[in-house]
């Protein structure tokens, strides 16, 4: 898929663990893992908003369009 999720990168930058982020935004670690691995089919605006708020970043810092 041409949309790449750079959540791992942001977590390293913010020195935060996946489990911690999952707890803050209120999703399971399994779902966060699906999101990180790029297996997710869609991301809700509410989830994106919570991630941006927790990591203090913009949506573009997490999602990137890369041509195939």
């Amino acid at each position: 898929m041409p949309i790449v999720v750079n959540l791992d990168l942001m977590l390293v930058k913010r020195d935060m663990k996946s489990k911690e982020l999952a707890q803050i935004i209120g999703i399971t670690t399994a779902n966060l893992s699906i999101l990180k691995s790029g297996k997710a089919k869609a991301v809700r605006f509410s989830t994106l908003e919570a991630i941006c708020e927790a990591l203090d970043c913009q949506p573009a810092d997490i999602l990137e369009y890369v041509e195939d």
Binding site: I27, N31, L32, I34, L35, K39, A40, K41, A42, V43, R44, T47
Partner: protein
């Protein structure tokens, strides 16, 4: 929802038992001794006579086809039993499961196979006893009910296939 499923399961069981008891009663009333007569005839038949046109062969064919109709009625009841499997899946919360899609397709094919087979068998019966075969009169019930029901189950299977795809997509929406 769970209570409704239980009620539907009970109703389905009652319908199944009713259908089985009606079939068994019809089979009891049917004179299966004719087959014994046929066996005796087969032993003592005149070998020079052409078997296909002999009276006994025609009579036996009539009874064999009647017995085949019983078999197909049993097959239709077997199709009804899939309703219980679907209800069990629903009770377990697996609405758009592969199993349900498979069951819907099977019920659809059983309904359509039954109708086509009964059409052929009834046509043969009328050909044997020399009466005229009236398509509409013979299969009015089957064609107005079972064929549309069979098609409806195929359509349901397609809807459930789509539902399964949407459910999977929904599960992967974070």
């Amino acid at each position: 929802m769970k209570d409704n499923t239980k009620l539907l399961t009970i109703i389905t069981y009652a319908i199944l038992l009713g259908a089985v008891s009606v079939l068994l009663n019809d089979m009891r009333e049917f004179d299966f001794n004719q087959f014994e007569k046929f066996q005796n005839w087969a032993k003592t038949a005149d070998k020079s006579e052409h078997w296909f046109t002999s009276k006994n062969a025609i009579e036996w064919s009539y009874y064999a086809i009647s017995a085949a109709i019983f078999f197909w009625r049993g097959y239709l009841i077997y199709g009804f039993s899939y309703f219980l499997s679907i209800l069990k899946e629903v009770e377990n919360g697996n609405y758009f499961s592969d199993k349900n899609i498979k069951y819907f397709k099977r019920i659809g094919s059983i309904f359509i196979n039954y109708t086509i087979s009964i059409l052929v068998l009834r046509f043969l019966l009328t050909a044997i006893d020399g009466s005229t075969f009236k398509f509409i009169r013979e299969l009015k019930g089957e064609f107005t009910f079972l064929i549309p029901a069979g098609l409806a189950f195929y359509i349901l299977a397609k809807i459930f296939e789509k539902g399964k795809a949407v459910e999977e997509e929904n599960d992967l929406t974070i």
